[in-house]
Symmetry: C2
Subunit: 213 residues, 2 copies
């Protein structure tokens, strides 16, 4: 596949494109022009063409984009077909919410185990994911190395847990702890920013009120 360096901003738009293409497919729409797609997503047609041109040519002049082909390409670029294996550390409220309600498999991740320090949680099972003793993190990862971890421990355990994961070869952390983890070797940290979404809501509410004033 033709590739160029993709900017962080394009990467952040790809999941939105993917979700939108899923919606279009679900509604039976087979092709779409860059201008219609732009209208629907609040982007200019030229920005969309530029984003997609960065990883190959999908569109055809006068035809637009083939929805399912574009969807598959974006999914592949995002690595959904890679079969990432991951663990989850911290089976508190946030951890349980993810274990019970988030469809990791749909996004190309397979959770192989969860870990917690609480004896009452150890031995539990959520959708087929067993909760193991956090003391056994190192020995487990030695036997079953994984690349990614979902970090849902309490704030105060965030840093030490991230360090342990890093030492065990986990090089990608999905961080829900609201603690800024320092750059650590080759570890990639993706922070889950709930606030970005709430602030967008705040903006829409504030501006509706402005218009009414």
């Amino acid at each position: 596949m033709k590739r160029c360096r993709i900017s962080n901003n394009v990467i952040r738009r790809l999941p939105r494109y993917l979700r939108h293409l899923d919606d279009l497919q679900a509604r039976g729409i087979e092709r779409i022009s860059s201008s219609t797609l732009g209208d629907q997503l609040g982007l200019t047609p030229s920005q969309i063409r530029q984003d997609f041109s960065c990883f190959g040519e999908f569109g055809q002049q006068g035809y637009g984009y083939h929805v399912s082909a574009l969807r598959e390409q974006i999914a592949a670029i995002l690595g959904i077909d890679r079969g990432h294996e991951a663990i989850l550390v911290g089976v508190g409220n946030m951890g349980k919410a993810l274990l019970c309600n988030f469809d990791f498999a749909n996004w190309g991740f397979r959770l192989v185990s969860a870990f917690d320090v609480n004896p009452q949680r150890i031995g539990e099972d959520y959708n087929g994911v067993p909760v193991r003793n956090a003391e056994d993190l190192e020995s487990f990862l030695q036997q079953h190395p994984v690349e990614a971890a979902v970090l849902t421990v309490p704030r105060e355990a965030a840093l030490s847990t991230a360090q342990r994961l890093s030492q065990c070869g986990v090089t990608a952390i999905w961080n829900f702890t609201n603690v800024e983890l320092p750059a650590c070797g080759e570890t990639i940290v993706e922070n889950m920013h709930f606030s970005d979404s709430l602030l967008a809501l705040s903006y829409f509410v504030a501006n509706r009120n402005n218009e009414e004033e």
Copy 2:
């Protein structure tokens, strides 16, 4: 304040600007040029100038942006100073995770009550937010009208709860249910998309591996 119609894409970037300016402030940085800011955020200087010009003139030629002034302006545009009141409906894992760990006040929201159907949860209190019987939603909102609700009920209750909220005058919903809520009158729905963040992580992992191959 000078205003123009702000595109959805700019709105989505504002929270990221805000977080980044908070980081800069915490590091004692008082001013920054659009090119440095662009480098740090993966945006072009002209895009940054264009984004900010949309809601007024902050920067000065040759000086750059004053970090704290820009931060306050963006916070105001996002409506953080509006004092939104909100309720939370559904005190399951996700609801508890938010009640216990998410700092609503920091983002301009005040939670006045939570609601649940489970008798064991009713009467509990999380950081000063009481859990009331979901049956009393309508009577509570009649006495204490609020604009916004955090929706953390199970999937199967998402639609009916959203409708009840809408009928009670709640016109902004922060939706964690993974259920697409239909456009309903003037209600604004902001969906929390965990997947966008996980897919960005997937991309970074997949592309690191590409480089290594």
